[in-house]
């Protein structure tokens, strides 16, 4: 049975590594829903957060292959109930539409959106949430014909565990200087 999995991989910051990781997915015809790469809490260590809709068996195989990449320190995978995750979405709407009546504003409030910039021509709204939640706000604004531009980030996530998987792993490996 396919379900949503969030794969996180910690790695060195090495040119070409993104390519090495994505070909693991393409070769097995696994579609990447979202992908976020950013520096992690440990200096010099990068974090990949990759969301896929796949069977657990396939995800296990993919994660082992990611782990095998020389510059990857460690890869993990989680189901949605094991993590807290968010995406961020930006909505650019016409300021005229916003001023027309209070419809746009009501929708934004109801969906816990936040206005980040207002100009005479356009207004930018930001919303954090799951993909479903950001989609809901999009759909409602779109029905009013208010949207000029819309963009959404990939997922970022933290685990619900009390211990830190990567930290434990690095401690076991011993060769890491975690204070640097």
């Amino acid at each position: 049975m396919k379900q949503t999995f969030t794969i996180t991989a910690f790695s060195e910051n090495h040119i070409g590594l993104l390519n090495r990781i994505t070909i693991i997915f393409t070769r097995r015809r696994v579609n990447i829903e979202t992908l976020t790469v950013s520096p992690s809490a440990i200096k010099g260590v990068h974090k990949f957060t990759i969301v896929v809709n796949e069977t657990r068996e396939m995800v296990e195989k993919v994660v082992k292959q990611i782990d095998k990449v020389v510059e990857v320190i460690k890869a993990f995978y989680h189901t949605d109930d094991e993590i807290i995750f968010q995406e961020i979405a930006l909505y650019k709407v016409s300021t005229d539409k916003l001023m027309e009546n209070n419809k746009v504003e009501t929708i934004v409030r109801k969906n816990a959106g936040r206005i980040v910039e207002v100009t005479p021509k356009y207004t930018v709204i930001e919303k954090m949430g799951t993909a479903d939640e950001t989609q809901e706000l999009f759909d409602e604004l779109n029905q009013l014909g208010a949207i000029l531009q819309f963009t959404r980030s990939g997922r970022i996530a933290v685990t619900r565990l009390s211990e830190e998987l990567l930290h434990n792993f690095l401690k076991k490996r011993e060769i890491w200087d975690l204070d640097n």
Binding site: G16, I23, K61, V70, E71
Partner: protein, 567 residues
């Protein structure tokens, strides 16, 4: 202490520091600075000029496989580098440690579609264990040190270092430090003792244990540990095509070869055993046949260095991660002495059937034409299992792996996972360079021989002692066999109108002889073996000779057939 060197000198000096004996390669624009520097290092490192980059990389593979050292090859940018790709893919799937060094256009030209610019790091990414583009001279020693470390540790594999021309021309303070650790890379997973205990319990309680031996045992230099393991618990063993020669052919626990053209008993017993112990092998589909009907009745123990192989194809009950060199002795200590005589007798019953239906007919054919089987048998008699056997890909490969006898490990080189035609001749050349004191015998088909036949020129130049046994059936025999069995004998595009191979060999300065009839065979083989230096012996083979047993594609291992299916 550091010395001032150019990037090119640093490339060579680094290779020397790593103990490189030979570079198999081919020059060109983007690697010319290194080739220029070579003239000053001739007494410390030898370059072998092949006739094609594919010839260079397969030679490096042959060298690595027989010596256990890292094979090194070199090529220029663009076409030089792309010509290496087949060999890199081959080394990747067969876990052969290689360092490939390629020249790249100058760094200011990267990404401009410059002359002979190809994104070699990009192209080779899926088929290398690791690769890197080096654009600065001072990065060269570290990149090469890492390359060697990664290539040979853990599950070995090919790595590629692409060096821009300006990095080769530049200069650096050279100070070589071997790489012994990369913080993100864990070559040997730590093994869990409780897993070994679980495995020991299963094996001690087993009535019908069965061991599958793979190349991991050879790569881990664990042949002795492996033998102690099976001998203590009386475990019948079968090997994959890359595990050939890890266990003496005539060892009483050696049951034969696995796989599509392996033996009869060894295939069937996968589905009869109660505990299946896979040691350093990866359950390739050519070994398992239909996975849904493979060893379902058995508890599976998998000893493996690469965690990604666990549960990849066959679900395991107990996975023992780690180098088998470390894990096998621990397991052996926990085993109880057994001989499993009755169970082994079951193998022998099936062996008798295969012997009658297949082997005797291959060895002592009643038809007029010569068979590949009898050629291999005769060579066994002469070499006593001490020669290195190299093969190309096709029917002859299967006859050679089934029938060649081995008394020493690392004595068999073949392209297993990729099945690369054209691998044989250059690989045999590399093997002969690596083991100059051994006889190297190549079995090659008339098809594959023509894919890299130009390497006869290299062999003539290096005077490597390669004995080529060309088994000429005038067909792409293996494909023809499939056409005969599964495509109603429609021999589409498999007949070859062949050249005069002996004349070609002689043109390259290599002696040779053609044998057409059985009475001439033995003397011709003797003549080849007593000839000093390279030799081509062409044997005219029965055209419609087939390899059996066979597990047809999609069939279960227990459906292995010993003769063509009746239609």
């Amino acid at each position: 202490m550091s010395t001032k060197l150019t990037g090119s000198q640093a490339v060579l000096q680094s290779l020397i520091e790593e103990g490189t004996e030979y570079i198999f390669g081919y020059p060109g624009g983007a690697i010319m600075p290194v080739y220029d520097a070579m003239m000053d290092y001739e007494d410390q490192i030898k370059h072998i000029l092949t006739r094609h980059e594919q010839g260079a990389i397969h030679a490096a593979q042959g060298y690595a496989r027989v010596t256990g050292k890292v094979g090194v090859c070199m090529a220029t940018s663009g076409p030089g580098a792309t010509n290496l790709i087949t060999g890199i893919a081959d080394a990747m799937i067969d876990s052969t440690p290689l360092v490939c060094i390629t020249g790249q256009v100058g760094s200011p030209l990267l990404g401009t579609d410059a002359f002979q610019e190809t994104d070699v790091v990009g192209i080779s990414m899926p088929v290398t264990k690791w690769n890197v583009l080096v654009t600065k001279p001072e990065e060269i020693p570290f990149a090469i040190a890492q390359a060697f470390f990664i290539a040979k540790t853990g599950r070995p594999g090919p790595v590629l270092v692409d060096i821009t021309k300006d990095a080769q021309f530049g200069s650096l303070d050279f100070n070589y430090k071997k790489c012994t650790n990369i913080r993100s890379y864990e070559p040997k997973p730590v093994f869990e003792p409780e897993k070994i205990e679980q495995a020991a319990q299963l094996i001690n309680a087993a009535k019908k244990p069965y061991v599958l031996l793979g190349q991991g045992v050879i790569l881990g230099n664990a042949e002795a540990e492996f033998k102690a393991f099976i001998e203590k618990a009386g475990l019948p063993t079968a090997w994959t095509i890359l595990g050939v020669s890890a266990l003496d052919s005539d060892h009483p626990l050696n049951m034969g070869m696995l796989g599509m053209h392996g033996n009869y008993s060894t295939n069937v017993m996968n589905n009869q055993c109660d505990v299946l112990i896979a040691v350093g092998m990866r359950f390739d589909d050519r070994v398992t046949g239909d996975l849904k009907r493979f060893a379902k009745q058995a508890k599976v123990i998998h000893m493996e260095i690469d965690p990604a192989e666990i549960d990849k194809n066959v679900k395991t009950d107990v996975a023992i991660l780690g180098d088998v060199k470390d894990t096998l002795p621990v397991l052996t200590r926990l085993l109880e002495k057994r001989d499993h005589a009755e169970w082994i007798a079951e193998f022998k019953k099936l062996d008798a059937i295969e012997n009658e239906k297949v082997i005797q007919k291959d060895f002592y054919p009643d038809k007029e034409g010569l068979t590949m089987g009898e050629v291999v048998r005769r060579i066994n008699e002469r070499t006593g299992g001490k020669a290195i056997i190299v093969t190309d890909v096709g029917q002859h490969q299967m006859f050679a792996s089934r029938y060649a006898k081995h008394k020493q490990t690392r004595n068999f080189v073949t392209s297993g996972g990729l099945g690369t035609m054209g691998f044989g001749l250059p690989a045999a050349h590399g093997a002969a360079m690596g083991c100059p004191d051994k006889d190297v015998i190549l079995f090659v088909g008339d098809g594959g021989f023509q894919m890299t036949i130009q390497e006869l020129g290299t062999i003539n130049q290096t005077e490597a002692n390669v004995k080529v046994v060309l088994l000429n059936n005038k067909y792409l025999g293996m494909v023809r066999q499939w056409q005969q069995l599964f495509f109603d004998r429609r021999y589409s595009q498999t007949y070859l109108m062949n050249p005069d191979f002996i004349m070609i060999a002689k043109g390259f300065g290599i002696e040779g002889k053609k044998v057409m009839h059985r009475p001439e065979l033995d003397a011709a083989i003797d003549e080849m073996l007593s000839h000093k230096g390279a030799y081509v012996l062409e044997v005219s083979i029965e055209k419609e000779d087939n390899v059996f047993p066979m597990v047809p594609t999609g069939a279960s291992v227990s459906e292995v057939i010993l003769e063509p299916p009746q239609k």
